[in-house]
Symmetry: C2
Amino acid sequence: MNEEALRVTYRLRTGSEGAGQRARTLALEQSIEMPVEAVTDERVLREVVAQVDGVVPQPDGSALAQLALSAESIDGDAGQLLNMLFGNSSLHGDVEVAAVEVPPAMAAAFGGPALGIEGIRKLARAPRRALTCTALKPIGSTVADLARMTGVFADAGIDVIKDDHGWSARTSASFEQRVTACQREVERANRGRSGQTLYAPALSGPFEAQRRQVHFARDHGVQAMLVTPMIAGVANFHALRHDFREIAFLAHPALAGNQMAPEALLGTLFRVFGADAVIFPNHGGRFSYSRATCQRIATCLREPRPGLRPALPVPAGGMSVERVPEIVADYGVDSMLLVGGSLLMARDQLAARSREFVEAVAMASGAMTA
Amino acid sequence: MNEEALRVTYRLRTGSEGAGQRARTLALEQSIEMPVEAVTDERVLREVVAQVDGVVPQPDGSALAQLALSAESIDGDAGQLLNMLFGNSSLHGDVEVAAVEVPPAMAAAFGGPALGIEGIRKLARAPRRALTCTALKPIGSTVADLARMTGVFADAGIDVIKDDHGWSARTSASFEQRVTACQREVERANRGRSGQTLYAPALSGPFEAQRRQVHFARDHGVQAMLVTPMIAGVANFHALRHDFREIAFLAHPALAGNQMAPEALLGTLFRVFGADAVIFPNHGGRFSYSRATCQRIATCLREPRPGLRPALPVPAGGMSVERVPEIVADYGVDSMLLVGGSLLMARDQLAARSREFVEAVAMASGAMTA
């Protein structure tokens, strides 16, 4: 296996079976799916079968196995990468993906974010501070309610207003209605001021519907989209990113599961596949990620990598305005804070609460960069 | 919530938190994603918020929570169904999908299999016996090797010869090369005999590439395709099924994970979304599904449902010719046995071993229907 292999660390919880044997079985399962004794092609044995580079027992009784997967079997296809990484083994109960190392040439071929952190800053005209994001909720609202909410958020100066990821294409407010009404509110609020609020509608449905949605939105002035790669199919997300290089793609973690380490899937792979910003559940909210996990996600999204722009970490999931100083201190200014339902709890004080959010982030950013 | 709701049973492993409270939190997470106190629209509270219909403690300390999810939020979109079913909650460690009940109108709108068991029997001209299936392995083989293998399998009378799901579109044998060479072998073997072997090449890449692949394959006489819905995106699989109603779609479980009960995802949902046959790991092979789980998958695929054709269960994953009588006894004749790597272990005895497989299935089927 050469330096262009995908290097993966799996956590094995083998019980009685030896970890070394389990790692070798895993290497076959995630490559040729047959016993080596049955392989007659020498090249396949040499270049296609996944290799076990090491197995390290851990204090908790699990073991970390390092495998090298052939770049040839991945073939520049994001879906095929997930397939070779974890397709069959995801059905097993005793193995998780702990870390993924994408070699530079493979990462460059996927291309990563087209805009990245700097591109989103330019669109929002928000240099050198943490950004703010909120969500249009609840699904089922009328388009009039959504437009009103969008206007309030945009007037407060929130940088990105995204659809809840549960919005489908039709129903109470269709994709086209949302885009028309919400983008109009955003553009009204943006006139004559320096900061530019972005509206990010949610893509849904099969690929061709999603592409039509991006076309429609772009034609209406929209510059950002919310996408759920694990539902859309990562290869389709990657294809959209390729076709619409001027759009900022915010990736949502829905259906990412808990069998692949979030830093590997949401951090490393979502960035490689082209997410400009990645939403993930911050620690201490409704979800169970630890602070260390969240820090690792942010690191994987932002660490310098040759030929790959950094992507914006978007901690979310039950966050509140009260926690802004702590979150900005955690992630620094190259991040975007997503506060959703907690703002709406203010009900008729929504405008004031939204301004508090924007001001708290500006103040905490100032403290960071002073 | 009316009778058109999607009824879902979740298994909660709540630990110290009460299961009743956890079920209510789950209902919000999988619908409006915000506290009910912040909702101002009465219709949303009445019709869109998911409802908890019951919570039943289990002997093992877990609890089964029955929820009703609004059909409106699913909107006839397979991806959106998974999103509402498990999008955010898949990130949690304390909840699994145990069962899914798709209401008849929703199932009929998705449409289910276009061919189903009877359609596959017609294509293969294989009435009233269990069917046989094998896989072209290993990835990385030359197209000449694949064609030779296909010829041997087809001459032995195996009903379906599928690509390994790890085949990507390009590399050592491209999709187009495989289709051209393997379909030619199958057609040569099929001439002048009653049984008709089907070649099922594997789809990969983004949706548009997959659609081009189906067009190319169909133009070359191919009547069956292998698809991995969880990698392609279920909405895209559903779109392909809709566009190509004469093709038999074999669904592969890669990336299905272990957080959703296999009978719910591979059984109920893959059938509703349109799989004509569903491959799943049989008990006692390389995977850890129990016999009871496998039986439930087969039941969900085949049980009579108004307006929905039955789909063919394809037990697989480390099966051998020796186990044929037991597997046919387990699943009956409305099933297809997939034996892959174990045949290839025969190496230069591949033809004889393949015939043994076909004969063993015919004999076991005869015993069942005698």
